[in-house]
């Protein structure tokens, strides 16, 4: 089992009991780690009663998994999952930083967190020792305060525990902000100040377990690998390719803030009312000219450094620190809110970080609320006096605080735009669903499909097992372009941004050099990857308890994507319903689903998933 630290750590927060779990080689070979292994373990533990489990109740399980390639493939990440309070399925949500490295160096591949603590706590993993500690002093604190206190405390503890070691590096932490504590469905699991695992809503799951943070410090090495010389060579190869992409390194995805809006017309503007803008304030270098920027800020082993830190040095937003908004946040906390100044964009992003909100999910619901305000469905009174006009950065941060604290209207918006639309619609006696841009309860990433000029297509979100997740989209052909390719990356648990310029074979070589297993393309796309996809699909279709998705109705694009684009070079373009239906059915066929989008019994049997078939029959999803 090369590449693996050897065991998983299971922590029951209700009882305080901790145990080690070892997994068999064949399980690891099939499910790898991260998202794949999470699907397997989650189904084994919760599959039988999936549809009855409330994601915010103690029965839900939070998984924090590394993969065999974490720490070896340049740009390590960690994958968070569990039953999602957004989709009611399972989403593999990854986040960058050093946590995965520390966890492996501490001797663990991952954490299975069950139950619910009686009062706020945090997990402290120092090498092989695990402690559940009181977190009452950090409960309610913002991200920056939380991390500052945890770093100080754990450094002190390291000095006490290892008095003769000298200075040990600070531990890594995953944590939640107030948005997670208050069980909003739009909260992220945060790392460093600005990194978040946002899709899925697992910040709220941590909050529901009274778990404020997980701190890990490993003193050991990364696990043994099959062929260290080959690993060294492959690290060099990947880095060399990445280092050549100088503009990508310099700007990250932030270069998209103008080009995606202006050129491909696929950027959300004022809650997707448009997808085109010509605001050159979001052109590639404007942020750098107007703000202080740390141009290169990387996570462990990363050659690309696509995220940067930013801070306005003057004006009303002076001192707001966040990552220099990447494309997604330029879109969702910029243009989607009608904000077109780098300063305003950074200010809102910094607040979203501090509150522990997901920039995409929160940006989506903030934009949704502002459109309701624009159309008169929500009044200033409804918003407790907030004047939620487009571009008003201060107003949006005020509303974000209310969402994170579940105060007033924030209590409804904290449910995410889909659930909020239904609640508000009932209250106002009006259908608000046409204004929600979501997929199965998950806000859609900032890559629209109407112009047809972005990497996304008509089935990207509608057929994805991760719903609105723009990093894991359904695609035809269902190979490296599509979701199963993301599953390998989310299961090996490394950053796919560092794979853009490398050949596919190098990925399989890397797996072989680390684990010793030669996974073939055929094996992955016809078997292992496909198996993980089916389990995630089954969990998504089971859904519940508040909402269940019927693929005939819900494998669908949001209504807004059928409105013609009103402006820009692709004005008039929209999604063709017939073409969508055709692509959808073609996709169903390729991945082995029936005409209603349900995994066929023979597909499941061939993949050794008879128990999944049995469950789907029990609840009559399969006839």
């Amino acid at each position: 089992m090369h590449g693996y630290a050897g065991k998983l750590l299971e922590i029951n927060l209700s009882t305080g009991k901790v145990k080690n779990i070892s997994l068999k080689d064949d399980i690891l070979r099939s499910y790898i780690g991260g998202r794949g292994l999470a699907a397997k373990i989650l189904w084994d533990k919760l599959g039988k009663e999936w549809e009855t489990i409330d994601p915010f109740e103690a029965e839900n399980i939070l998984l924090v998994f590394t993969g065999p390639l974490t720490g070896f493939f340049p740009g390590g990440r960690v994958c968070i999952s569990g039953k999602s309070p957004q989709s009611n399925g399972m989403i593999g949500s990854t986040v960058g930083g050093e946590f995965g490295i520390d966890l492996k160096c501490a001797g663990y591949n991952g954490l299975i967190i069950t139950g619910k603590a009686q009062k706020p706590c945090y997990l402290n993993i120092i090498d092989k020792e695990v402690a559940i500690k009181d977190a009452s002093h950090i409960w309610g604190k913002t991200g920056k305060e939380t991390l500052k206190i945890l770093t100080k405390e754990t450094r002190k503890e390291l000095h006490e525990k290892f008095p003769r070691y000298g200075e040990l590096k600070e531990p890594s932490a995953l944590y939640i902000g107030p948005a997670g504590e208050n069980k909003t469905r739009v909260a992220a699991v945060m790392a460093k100040w600005t990194h978040g695992a946002g899709y899925g809503g697992y910040g709220g799951v941590m909050g529901s377990k009274n778990l404020k943070a997980i701190v890990a410090k490993g003193l050991g090495p990364l696990p043994e690998v099959e062929n260290i010389e080959k690993v060294k060579e492959l690290i060099k190869k990947v880095c060399k390719k990445c280092y050549k992409e100088e503009l990508w390194r310099r700007w990250g995805t932030g270069a998209g803030g103008y080009s995606v809006g202006a050129k491909s017309s696929s950027e959300p503007i004022r809650n997707w009312q448009e997808e085109w803008h010509d605001e050159k304030s979001f052109a590639v270098d404007k942020f750098e000219q107007r703000l202080w920027i740390k141009q290169y800020w990387a996570d462990y082993g990363c050659p690309t450094a696509c995220l940067k830190l930013a801070m306005p040095k003057t004006g009303e937003f002076k001192g707001a620190i966040t990552d220099n908004p990447d494309y997604e946040l330029q879109a969702y906390l910029g243009s989607n809110l009608g904000i077109f100044t780098p300063e305003g964009n950074v200010y809102v992003s910094a607040m979203i970080d501090d509150l522990g909100l997901c920039g995409i999910q929160a940006g989506n619901v903030l934009g949704f609320a502002a459109e309701l305000y624009q159309r008169g469905f929500l009044t200033k009174k409804d918003l407790d006096g907030i004047d939620l006009t487009w571009g008003n950065a201060k107003a949006f941060t005020e509303l974000a605080k209310k969402i994170a604290k579940r105060e007033g209207i924030g209590n409804i918006l904290a449910e995410g735009s889909y659930r909020a639309a239904i609640k508000l619609g009932k209250m106002k006696n009006v259908n608000l669903l046409p204004y929600v841009v979501h997929e199965k309860g998950v806000a859609i990433g900032a890559h629209g499909i109407r112009s047809g000029k972005d990497y996304t297509s008509n089935i990207s979100y509608a057929c994805s097992v991760q719903a609105g997740d723009h990093t894991s989209v359904a695609a035809l052909p269902a190979d490296r372009r599509g979701e199963m390719a993301t599953i390998i990356e989310d299961s090996g648990v490394y950053c796919f941004f560092n794979t853009f310029s490398v050949d596919e074979d190098l990925i399989w070589d890397f797996f072989e050099a680390v684990t010793g297993w030669r996974i073939t393309r055929e094996e992955w796309y016809k078997e292992s990857g496909l198996r993980i996809l089916q389990i995630q699909r089954a969990m998504l279709l089971l859904g519940g308890p508040d909402y269940k998705w019927n693929p005939e109705k819900d494998d669908e694009n949001p209504p807004r994507f059928y409105d013609p684009l009103p402006s820009g070079p692709y004005a008039g373009k929209t999604v063709n319903k017939e073409a969508f239906e055709e692509s959808k059915h073609e996709y169903y066929q390729v991945v082995g689903w029936d005409k209603n989008g349900v995994p066929k019994p023979e597909t499941l049997r061939k993949l050794g998933l008879k128990h999944v078939e049995k469950k789907l029959r029990e609840v009559k999803i399969l006839a």
Binding site: G71, F72, E98, I101, C105, K144, L147, K148, T151, R155, F162, R164, Y165, G166, E167, L168, K169, E170, K192, W193, T194, G218, L219, G220, P221, L222, E224, I228, K232, I235, C239, K240, Y243, W292, K294, Y296, W297, A298, D299, Y300, G301, C302, P303, A305, L309, M311, K313, G319, I321
Partner: protein
């Protein structure tokens, strides 16, 4: 006569991305493993954005060498690096307290101290830093004894405290 191998590693904290390639390269070279805490250079991140590569500065008076009760530490006459005799080192940690920057640290797997040995004049950490064009670490020649080197030996906290001000201005004071 100064040896050709007598070098010094210049560190520009403001440029450090925190990619930690230096740690990876160092531990792969010395341990044949990726081992963050066994790396002779380690990047501290007490405040995000303020990444501090921490490694031996070869003080002109070598207080660590003087402090060693078992004579396990010596100075390489060619490179100026502090060398550790693994057999003699008892892992007592006295050199850590003697170092103004608390830079030496115990090997997390063996009972011995870890101090940068300058890779015999061709440091691996600098190579990878240069490959990545980060330019946080670079090598300069040492022409003789530079009396100010000891001033670079500071704890991660001391360096961070100043760095955060440079990075974040007055806001930096709240962050550490």
């Amino acid at each position: 006569m100064a040896s050709k191998k007598r070098i010094w590693i210049v560190r520009d904290y403001m440029k450090c991305s925190g990619c930690r390639k230096c740690e990876i390269a160092c531990s792969l070279f010395h341990e044949n493993k990726i081992w963050p805490e066994a790396s002779r250079i380690r990047v501290f991140m007490l405040v995000p954005g303020a990444e501090v590569p921490h490694l031996c500065v070869q003080c002109e008076d070598y207080p660590c060498v003087k402090s060693c009760p078992t004579e396990a530490l010596s100075v390489n006459s060619e490179t100026g690096a502090v060398l550790v005799d693994e057999e003699k080192c008892s892992g007592c940690g006295i050199c850590i307290d003697a170092c103004p920057g608390r830079i030496p640290h115990l090997h997390p797997g063996k009972k011995r101290i870890l101090i940068c040995d300058l890779c015999n004049g061709e440091p691996e950490c600098v190579k990878v830093c240069q490959e990545g064009k980060w330019n946080t670490l670079s090598v300069v020649k040492r022409k003789g004894w530079n009396e100010t080197l000891r001033a670079y030996s500071r704890t991660p906290e001391e360096i961070t405290r100043e760095l955060v001000i440079n990075l974040y201005g007055e806001k930096g004071e709240e962050l550490l």
